[in-house]
Amino acid sequence: MPSQQKILNTLRNPIAIAASIQNRKRWEQFFIVLGWFSLLVALLTLVFLVSDLFLRGLPMLNWKFFTSPPSSDPEEAGILTAWVGSLLVIFVTAVVAIPLGIAAGIYLEEYAPKNWLLDFIEVNITNLAGVPSIIYGLLALGFFVYILKWGESILTAGFTLALLILPVVIVTTRESLRAIPQGIREAAYAVGSSRWQMIADHVLPYSMGGILTGIIVGISRAIGETAPLITIGALTFITFLPEPPIQSEFPYISFKWIWAPFTVLPIQMFNWVSRPQEAFQVNAAAAGIILLVLTLAVNGTAIYLRYRFRKSIKW
């Protein structure tokens, strides 16, 4: 075909080559600019939001704000019950979700027979990660509050958020385990390991960095959750703290706090934002700063742990 031959002839034509290169480089330039623009939009929005939050909230940030319970007087109101509640709820969430999620991930990836049932479970766990959090709240209200009669307690809240982040922990655990090369597993088996020794001594420690990433993502999400906790009946105004877990008298440890009513930072913020007085808006901004710092602190700890794990393993 002559027309096809004509096109093929340009393959060695220097002018056609130069034109082609220039054309392709123009597209490249276009996408670099587009990328920069997208990045700028995302970053500027974030900078604007965070600086606005800080400008509004900073005047209120002082020791008293930290150590006072909420009050109808915005000047007197603080976030003591909210941040204590957040920490206790997240603690319960972590204690429940981390071992359950890792164990389920190990079972599904290393032990479960590979068949249609496993595929079915896998698809459903992935879907669960995308279920709206309010649905978890309804489930928890029906199960933990009404059937198990745990009440509107820290325990209920912790379990609810644990259910919420469990799919994330399971999925990232599985992915991290799967990323360990088969050669390492075979090497462990070849020296006479049982399957559990192979997992506990090799696959699990080597994949801890990735698993921690899943935990970070899950916990960060749990800290900011509001809807499911309102559903199960978190209070919006609470002025007393749960009984402290460490006591001065024997047996020194008390678990009464898990049955205590509670509020958390995002609910306290929501409560203040919905008030008409301007002064409460400042309080909400200040609480927002604390929430951000809390999230960063949790993430920071996890990132540090991940760094330590990765450092001890040299591939």
Partner: protein, 267 residues
């Protein structure tokens, strides 16, 4: 390169002892026959080489010896692999963990654990519940010496095994296999991922090791088989076409197929 080994084989005053004997072994990968009626002796403190073109089943046969196929679903063995000379046991009827505790393996690609050099070697004893420091120290040193690696790493046993060069990593893997005093060590093309100099050192090592351990090695390098093995089995399409002492296989093969392969006419 290494000189052709002392291809002295069965002489009258040095009776051969069998370390293992494969009898009528068939192997199926999810229903597909991959090994057909394999019969093969493995003699004690000798190097037996499995050669043949890609896909002929030599690695499949090797991995049957330490039941690696049991790790993956859908695999099935028929027949027997007898282990031991005095009171042989069919290793296909044993617990795979027990089999692997007696038969070590060195893989194609060096696969040290991302742990310290010391822990790489100590691990085989640790899985058996031996954690006594003095015993571990002794075994680590002895294994590294046997694997000709001690002098290179004795001052950095705490460094990760993965930081070593490719050839050193493979010798570390050999030391790891030696640490638990196995009856047989399986080598699955141990030099195919290494440069020529590292290859020479591994080959020299295998020649030395045969005085203390029985070796079964898969290689696609015929020169290597000549250099290091005393017996050779030529495999083709899942069957052993010919088995004999190495010199006979390469100098006066009986089967036409073997002659074609060892002379480089196919493969």
């Amino acid at each position: 390169m290494v000189k052709p080994t002392d291809s002295v084989v069965a002489t009258e005053n040095e009776p051969l002892k069998k370390m293992a004997q494969v009898r009528n072994l068939n192997f199926y990968y999810s229903g597909k026959l991959a090994l057909k009626n394999i019969n093969l002796p493995v003699y004690e403190k000798k190097v037996t080489a499995l050669i043949g073109p890609s896909g002929c089943g030599k690695t499949t046969l090797l991995r049957s010896f330490n039941r690696m196929h049991d790790l993956y679903p859908g695999n099935r063995y028929e027949g027997e692999i007898w282990l031991g000379d005095e009171n042989p046991r069919n290793l296909l009827q044993m617990d795979p963990i027990e089999v692997r505790m007696q038969i070590g393996m060195v893989f194609q690609k060096p696969n040290p654990f991302p742990k310290s050099i010391y822990e790489n070697i100590a691990y085989g004893l640790r899985v058996r519940g031996i954690n006594n420091r003095a015993i571990l120290d002794e075994v680590v040193e002895r294994s590294l010496r046997s694997a000709a690696l001690w002098d290179e790493v004795k001052d950095r046993l705490k460094e990760p095994g993965t930081a070593l060069s490719g050839g050193q990593q493979q010798r570390l893997c050999i030391a790891r296999a030696l640490a638990t005093d196995p009856a047989i060590i399986l080598f699955d093309e141990p030099t195919s991922a290494l440069d020529p100099i590292a290859t020479v050192s591994i080959e020299n090592l295998i020649v030395e090791l045969k005085d203390q351990v029985t070796i079964l090695i898969v290689t696609h390098n015929m020169q290597q088989a000549i250099r290091i093995s005393q017996f050779t089995a030529f495999m083709y399409l899942g069957e052993i076409v010919e088995y004999n002492d190495t010199m006979s296989i390469f100098t006066k093969p009986v089967e036409q197929k073997t002659a074609d392969y060892v002379s480089g006419r196919f493969g």
